[in-house]
Symmetry: C3
Subunit: 351 residues, 3 copies
C-alpha cells in the first residue's frame, strides 16, 4: 500500500517538529532496518540504535533530544517515536476493506435478516434465521449455519465456518478458516468401553471487539455457552473447548489450548502453545509463559511459567537448580569421598 | 433449543419418582449453576452440592436418598442423576440436522454414485468416481476429490477437504475445516541438501463411528494407508501423520500430534497437546497426560506423563524431587559445612 | 494407483539385476510388512530384516550381496534398495493432478491475469489484480484476495485462503486449508488496558519450491514482509507469525509455532510442536528436537533439545541427572546419617 504524504502534514498529525525539508513526500512506512527511499521509519528503543547509521529511510521519527548526526535524513522530533509511528500507521495506512454489496452467487435464506450496508462475497451461505448487523462484511465461501446472530461492523474473512446458533457482538473480526460452534468433545463410554456421543446443545457467544486468528476453533457448549468476552484477542490455531469462559481484554498467542469448562480471567496474557487443563480457573491479570502447562487453578494475579506452571520466580530458581544438577551430583560424590576418608581416619586412632 | 416436556413424562423415561408437580413443563436442560426458570438440572458429585441452595432450576434430578430441603424445587429421584440427565439430554435434545436434498449449486460428477436419502449442501464439489452412502449429509462448500468412498449416515460439516481415494466408514462425523488425505510430509535431500518430494501414494481409511474435530488434519500414507479404527474420537486441531495407525475406541484431545508410522493401541487416552514421535508403538489402554512428549514405545497399559513421558508414579516422584531441589541444594551445602567442621576437629587432636 | 510394469523394465530403470522371472508384472509398491501379491517392495536397513521371511510381495529390491534364501520371490539386486525404490516410486507413481481447464463457476476478476495452461476449479474466487502463472492448478473453493501474485506450476488445493498482496514463487504447493497473509497478531493497549489493533500492512512472500501443509497459517507482516525462502518444507498446522523469516531448505514438522519477527536459518530442522519465541535468531544448520521451547537465539549450528532448549548433550546429561534425583536424594540422606554418626563418634572420645 503506497500513499503520497507530505512530511509536514505527517508531522502536524503527531505534533512533531521537522528538521529538513517538510515539503518532501513519503510513500510508505517501514522498520528502520528495512526502510528504503521514500519511506518513513522511527527510532525505537536502545536495541534499534545500531540500525541508525545505515538506514536508507527518507524520514525518521526521533525523540526531541536526539542528536541528528546524519544530514541526509529528514527528522521528525516527537515525544514518543514509537507511539507517533503507530498514530501515522493507523491514520493513513489502515487497510481498506473493499468488499462491496451482496454478490448474487451468495445464498441468503429468505428468513435471514441482513442489515443495511452489509457486504457479502461470493458463494457465501447464510442459512435460515440468521441476522447480520449493519456494515458487516463477509468474505467469499464462508458458511453460516442456522440462527446465527452477527452484530454490526464485523469483518469475517473467507472460508470461515459458523455453526448453528452462534452469537457474535459488534466489530468482531474472524480471520480465514476460523471455526465457531463446532461440537464440544463430549463422550461417555458404555459398558463395552464404546464411546457414546453426548449431545452438545449449548452455543458460542463472542462479545464485542473480539478478534480471532486464522484456523482457530471455538467449540459450542455442551449446555449453556462457551463465551469470549469483550475485547479479547486470540491468535491463530488456538483451541477453545466447550463451556470455556474467557474474560475481557485477554490475549492468547498462537496454538494455545484451553480444555473444557475452564475460566480465564480479564487482562490475562497466555503466550504461545500454553495448555490449560479442564475445569480450572485462571484469575484476572495472570500472565502465563510460552508452552507452560497449567494443571490447576491460578487464582492470583502474577506471572507463571513451566510444566507444570509455577510462579515465575520459583520456575526460574527451579530451572537454575536443574542447570546446577551436574555440580550437585559431583558435590555429593565429593562429600561421599570425604566421609570415607573421615571414617578411615576415625577407625585408625581407635585401632 | 427449547422443548415443552412434562416432568412426569421425563421421570417415566428414567424410572424416577417425582416430588412436586409432575404436571409442570420444562423447556430446557442446564448445569446446576446456570439453570433458570423452566429448566431441568441434576445434582452431580460432591463438588456440585454448593450450587444446590441457590440453583434457579425448576426441576432437579437427585439421588433416591436425597434430603429435599428446598420446597420450591421439583425433584426427580433416580439412582444416578448424571446418567439420567444424559439419557434425557440424548432422548429429547439430540440436535436435528436439517440439511435436506441435493442442492442444485452442488457439483456432482456424473460417475459419482450418490446413495438414497443423501443430503448435499450448496457449492459442494464431488469429483469423479466418488461414492456417498445412504443417509449421509454433506454441508456447504465441502470439497471431495476423486474416488473417495464415504459410508452411510455420515455427517460432514462445511468447508471440509477430502483428498483423492479416501475411505470413510459409516456414521463418521467430520467437523468443519477437517482435512483428510493431504500429502504426508515426506522429502529426501539430494546431494545439494535440496529436498525432493517423495510421492505420497497411499490413502486414508477412517472406520465406522469415528468423529474428527474441527480443523484436524490426517495425512494420506506414503505407501499403504493411514488408518483410524472404529469408534475412535479425535478432537480439534490434531495432526495425524502419514502411515499412522490408531486403534479402536481411542480418544485424543485437542492439538495432539502423532508423527509418521506410529501405531496407537485401542482404548487409549491422549490428553491435549501430547506429542508422539514417529515409528513407535503405544499399546492398548495407555493413558498419556496433557502436553507429554513420547520419544519411545510404551507397550504396556498404564498412565504416563511428562517430557519425556514416564510412568505416572515415576513422573510425580520426579516432579516432587524437582520441587525439592532448593532443599537438596541447601542440605548439600550444610553437609559441606559440617564436613569442614569435622575435618578441623579431626586435625586438631592430631596436632 | 495401480500400474502394469514389467519387472525387467523396472530393473533397467535402476540398474538392477533380476533373479527370477523378469517377465512378470508388478502392479504396485508397498512396504515389506504390508506388500501383497503383485507388489514390489524393498529390503531396508537391519530393522526390516525380520519382515523378509514372511513378506507376501511378488518382487523385492535387495542389496547386491544379499542371500536369496526364498525361491518364491523375484529379486532385483541393486546398490541401494531404498534409493532404487524411491526412483521407481517417483518415476512411475508420481500422482497425476487431473484438474483441467477453468471452471465456469470460478470467479476471475477481469483485471486478473491468468497465464497459459492454468487450471482453476469450481467456486474458486480470484479478485482484482491477481496474477496466476502458467501451469498453476488451483482446486475448488479456494479464495485469493486482491493483488496476489502466484508463480508458475504451483499446486494449490481446495479451501485455501490467500489474503491480499501475497506473493508466491514457482512450484509452490499449498495443501487444503492453508491460510496465507492473515493479519499479524499486533495490538497495543490504550490507557484503559483495552487493546487497539495495529494495522498489519506488510505482506507474505513464499519463494520457489516451498511446500506448506494442511491448515498451516502464515501471517502477513506488520510492516515489510514475512518470508519463507526457497525449498523450505512446512508440515500441517504450523503457525508462522508476522515478520518471521525462514531460510532456504529448512524443514518444520507439524504444529511448530514461530513467534513474531524471529529469523530461522537455512537447512534447519524443527521437529514437531517446537515453539520459537519472538525476536530471536536461529542460525543455519540448527536441529531442534520435538516439543522443545526456544526462549533465546541459537546462532550456532548444532542439535538442541528441551524446555528451555539446550545443546543436545547438555539436555541428555540434564535428563540423566533428573532421572537420578531419587538416588541423589537418598545419597544426601545417607550422608546426613553418616555425619550424625561421625559427630557422635567425635563427641565420645572427647567425653
Amino acid at each position: 500500500m503506497t500513499k503520497n504524504l507530505l512530511i509536514s502534514e505527517i508531522a502536524r498529525l503527531v505534533g512533531g517538529i521537522v528538521s529538513g525539508s517538510g515539503e518532501k513526500i513519503i510513500t510508505g512506512l517501514n522498520k528502520i532496518e528495512d526502510a528504503g527511499e521514500g519511506e518513513l521509519t522511527f527510532l525505537g528503543g536502545a536495541a534499534y540504535q545500531k540500525y541508525f547509521p545505515a538506514t536508507k529511510a527518507t524520514a525518521i521519527l526521533v525523540k526531541r533530544d536526539f542528536e541528528k548526526s546524519r544530514s541526509d535524513l529528514i527528522y521528525i522530533e516527537v515525544d514518543d517515536p514509537g507511539k507517533a509511528f503507530l498514530v501515522i500507521l493507523t491514520h493513513y495506512f489502515t487497510p481498506e476493506i473493499t468488499l462491496q454489496g451482496i454478490d448474487p452467487s451468495a445464498y441468503i435464506h429468505p428468513t435471514a435478516f441482513i442489515g443495511p450496508n452489509v457486504s457479502i462475497g461470493k458463494n457465501v451461505v447464510i442459512e435460515e434465521g440468521c441476522v447480520i448487523g449493519k456494515g458487516t462484511k463477509i468474505f467469499h465461501n464462508t458458511v453460516i449455519l442456522r440462527n446465527t446472530v452477527i452484530g454490526d461492523d464485523c469483518l469475517i474473512f473467507q472460508n470461515v465456518s459458523l455453526r448453528e446458533d452462534s452469537v457474535l457482538g459488534n466489530r468482531v473480526i474472524l480471520h480465514p478458516g476460523v471455526v465457531i460452534g463446532s461440537d464440544g468433545f463430549g463422550f461417555t463410554p458404555d459398558q463395552n468401553g464404546v464411546y457414546q456421543k453426548i449431545p452438545q446443545i449449548g452455543i458460542v457467544i463472542i462479545e464485542d471487539d473480539v478478534e480471532i486468528g486464522a484456523n482457530t476453533t471455538i467449540d459450542r457448549a455442551a449446555l449453556g455457552h462457551t463465551i469470549i468476552k469483550r475485547g479479547t484477542k486470540i491468535d491463530n490455531l488456538v483451541q477453545i473447548a466447550h463451556n470455556v469462559s474467557v474474560g475481557e481484554d485477554t490475549v492468547m498467542s498462537a496454538q494455545v489450548g484451553i480444555a473444557g469448562s475452564s475460566k480465564i480471567g480479564r487482562h490475562c496474557v497466555l503466550a504461545g502453545q500454553v495448555g490449560i487443563t479442564g475445569h480450572i480457573e485462571i484469575g484476572d491479570n495472570v500472565i502465563i509463559g510460552a508452552q507452560s502447562g497449567v494443571p490447576k487453578s491460578l487464582p492470583e494475579a502474577g506471572t507463571y511459567f513451566g510444566y507444570p506452571a509455577k510462579p515465575l520466580n520459583v520456575a526460574l530458581r527451579t530451572e537454575g537448580h536443574i542447570r546446577n544438577l551436574e555440580k550437585y551430583a559431583s558435590r555429593i560424590k565429593k562429600l561421599e569421598d570425604k566421609i570415607v576418608q573421615l571414617e578411615k581416619l576415625l577407625e585408625k586412632p581407635q585401632a
